[in-house]
């Protein structure tokens, strides 16, 4: 059965442990510096999806597709 973030509670969705903040900080600093046009929220969303779905690539791809689609539709 495919697991998606929709089935999980917000608590479950939180990145495992507190030190994912290092990873988020690193990427956010890089985004700001080199890719300022990329949306901050989408980047954070992708990192969250990846950290939650490391064991389930299908679920990760589905959630990523959904996140990008949502972003693009909002842009429209």
């Amino acid at each position: 059965m495919r697991r998606t973030t929709k089935q999980s509670t917000p608590r479950e969705n939180a990145p495992a442990g507190g030190k994912h903040s290092d990873l988020h900080e690193t990427i956010e600093a890089l985004r700001k510096d080199k890719f300022p046009k990329l949306p901050k929220a989408l980047v954070a969303d992708i990192l969250r999806i990846e950290s939650e779905n490391l064991e389930d690539r299908h679920a990760a791809m589905a959630d990523l597709n959904e996140a990008i689609e949502n972003y693009l539709s909002k842009e429209d």
Binding site: M1, P15, G18, D22, L23, R31, L38, E55, M61
Partner: protein, 659 residues
């Protein structure tokens, strides 16, 4: 953070019936003391079984389930076992139960196939669905990183593999380290963005094909993308092949190294054999010479007597020669007297010889002509002959020193021969199972692997060039589509460009994050290492690409060779640093980590334990770490003490002794 609050075992290993350990919810250390074979490793395995359904042997091989249940219980007809792990994670309480029991209808299970396993996870009082159970467990404690939480102190030397490039185990550990540090989040994001970009490109082509104006370009783009997919597939295949070949090469290299050692031994054997033959030949010749010298050995004994005889004969010869000269002179004088008498006149002064004088002269002449006295006097010839013989014999007597020297040379050579033979014996023992054809096969296989790597490398380069060309074609087509395309295409293009930029961000992010992690791990490991080591001359640890740690001396030199104890301290420093930097926090459950360490290091490590992780569960035997020493060192950080007590060889009991 994962915090274990209790471990309950039922007929698991030596823990017969149901036994529990309750752990404090405070931060600190729990000690479990137990002698060898009482079940310390089994306790780690119980946690491992609950979380991952696996039990590992010391060699890290998975153990058969059939062998895990309590033997005494099995004897009483009760097969199977169960572990219940209670833990907290992010403020929620969980109860994980994993059980292994005989399949229905099987009364006496004999193999793993006769058992069935079940597990379930409760969050609070709610039982999670099997999918949510597995997802939660893999988030709480992924099996791939469990080596940093549940570990056997004896296996810490594995981390030395991180210092070796291309070591398979080193690569496995490196992957696990990157996993615990969260790198796969970025590498997966990078990969997924690349996949989504490809999807967007395909969609873009399809959309272009739908429009009359862009159809041709859309078809061209689709064809290029198709070609790119084929080349990427081939590139992947080649890269996998290259990885396989490199693994084979590194395995072969090890065998070639062994082979080279063997070859060196065989060369040495050949040289030794030839040396022994040479010694034998020379000694044979020396012995013959010595035997010939020994035939005159009696001369060496008689040398002083011979010298005396020679002296005597020389004196005798001098006497004979002197006597002969005297006789000759007398004869000449007698002849002169006779002549003088015959002429009655002196031959010198020509005076007449009177009668009286003539008479005296006749008497004197008679005396001079009297035959010589030769009593006991040997002839000159006889004496010369004797002297000659004596000189010959004395000449032979002079070979004694040379013979002794020759004898020593033979003995020295013999000693060397014995040494050679001993070494030959050692080498023959080492190479007794040697299969020379196998050695040749290894060398051939190694050469072939090197050639294959070159071929595959060439193939990879070719594919990369083709992909570069296709990439440029696609870019050109995309630029053209952008110029002439409509709104539908613009939307697809926006998706593609977004995925491309995100992919680029995560690609750069992997490098930046890795570098940042390496620096942080290096700093934290160095800090911890200086707390743990007793060597004041060590200044820090230096991290390599694989997260291997090298000790740096205060003079700046890297310590190339380190002891098993130092290796242990470095590995513990790495463990501590990973715990500090990992997004995933959990307990450290350590089995016998002090076996290789002296008292100084042990004390420092015990003191540092509370700073390594919030929850530490330490399993030791009392002679490895005295309970009172732990109490004095940890003070308030020691939360609880348990003891594993022997009931029988197959039955241990957990008893709480403090806390």
């Amino acid at each position: 953070m994962l915090r274990i609050t209790s471990i309950t075992l039922h007929n698991f290993g030596p823990f017969k019936e149901t036994q529990s350990i309750d752990l404090s919810k405070k931060d600190g250390v729990t000690m479990i003391f137990g002698e060898n074979m009482r079940g310390k490793t089994t306790l780690i395995n119980a946690v491992r079984y609950a979380l991952f359904g696996k039990v590992l042997s010391r060699g890290e091989h998975e153990m058969a389930l059939h062998k895990i249940g309590n033997w005494e219980a099995a004897k009483d007809g009760e097969y199977g076992f169960k572990v219940i792990l209670e833990f907290e994670h992010d403020g929620q309480n969980y109860t994980l139960t994993r059980e292994c029991k005989p399949r229905s209808g099987i009364e006496e299970p004999k193999t793993d196939l006769d058992y069935t396993q079940t597990h379930y996870l409760k969050r609070g009082s709610d039982v999670l669905s099997p999918a949510d159970c597995d997802a939660t467990l893999s988030r709480v404690m992924p099996e791939q990183v469990s080596r940093f939480f549940l570990f056997d102190g004896e296996l810490l030397q594995q981390y030395e593999e991180l210092l070796m490039n291309e070591s398979e185990m080193g690569q496995d550990i490196k992957e696990a380290i990157e996993r615990i540090l969260g790198v796969p989040v970025l590498t997966s994001a990078r990969y997924d963005m690349a996949e989504l970009k490809k999807e967007a490109e395909k969609k873009e082509s399809r959309t272009a094909q739908k429009d009359q104006q862009t159809r041709e370009l859309g078809t061209q783009n689709a064809a290029q993308i198709e070609q790119r997919t084929a080349h990427e597939k081939e590139l992947d295949r080649l890269k996998k092949e290259l990885t396989g070949l490199k693994t084979t090469k590194s395995e072969n290299e090890e065998m070639v190294r062994q082979n080279e050692k063997t070859k060196a031994l065989l060369n040495e054997l050949e040289n030794l054999d030839s040396r022994v033959k040479d010694i034998d030949a020379r000694n044979k010749e020396r012995r013959e010479r010595l035997a010939s010298m020994a035939s005159n050995a009696w001369c060496w004994v008689l040398k002083p007597a011979l010298e005396e005889l020679q002296e005597r004969e020389q004196k005798a010869m001098a006497t004979i020669q002197s006597n002969a000269a005297q006789r000759e002179f007398s004869a000449r004088v007698a002849d002169q007297i006779e002549q003088a008498l015959s002429t009655s006149k002196c031959q010198v002064c020509s005076q007449k010889i009177d009668t009286k004088t003539a008479k005296a002269l006749r008497a004197q002449m008679a005396e001079l002509r009297a035959p010589p006295q030769k009593d006991g006097e040997a002839s000159l010839e006889e004496t010369v002959a004797r002297l000659k013989t004596l000189r010959e014999i004395a000449g032979n007597a002079g070979g004694k020193d040379a013979a002794i020297e020759l004898l020593f040379t033979i003995e020295d050579a013999q000693v060397e021969r014995t040494q050679c033979q001993a070494r030959i014996g050692e080498i023959r023992e080492k190479t007794k199972d040697l299969d020379e054809s196998k050695l040749r096969r290894i060398m051939t296989a190694y050469d072939k692997t090197v050639q294959d790597i070159a071929i595959v490398d060439g193939g990879i380069k070719k594919e990369q060039e083709a992909l570069k060309e296709i990439g440029e074609n696609i870019k050109r087509i995309q630029a053209e589509l952008e110029r002439i395309g409509g709104a539908d295409l613009a939307k697809e293009r926006q998706r593609r460009q977004l995925c491309a930029s995100l992919g680029e961000l995560f690609d750069k992010g992997v490098g930046v994050y890795r570098e940042r992690l390496r620096k942080k791990v290096e700093q934290d490991a160095s800090k911890l290492f200086l707390q743990l080591t007793t060597e004041p001359d060590y200044a820090s640890l230096k991290i390599n690409e694989n997260y291997g740690l090298i000790i740096v001396h205060k003079d700046g030199d890297e310590i190339q060779v380190r002891s098993a104890g130092a290796e242990h301290v470095v590995a513990l420093s790495l463990m501590g640093a990973l715990q500090r930097n990992a997004p995933l926090e959990g307990p450290i459950v350590m089995d016998s980590p002090f076996g290789r360490l002296d008292e100084g290091h042990t004390g420092r490590i015990v003191k540092a334990l509370p700073s390594m992780a919030k929850q530490v569960l330490l399993l030791v035997y009392e002679s490895e770490l005295e309970p009172q020493f732990v109490r004095n060192t940890l003070k308030g950080d020691l939360l609880r003490e348990y003891k594993i007590v022997r009931k029988s060889a197959r039955h241990s009991v957990l008893e709480q002794s403090k806390g």
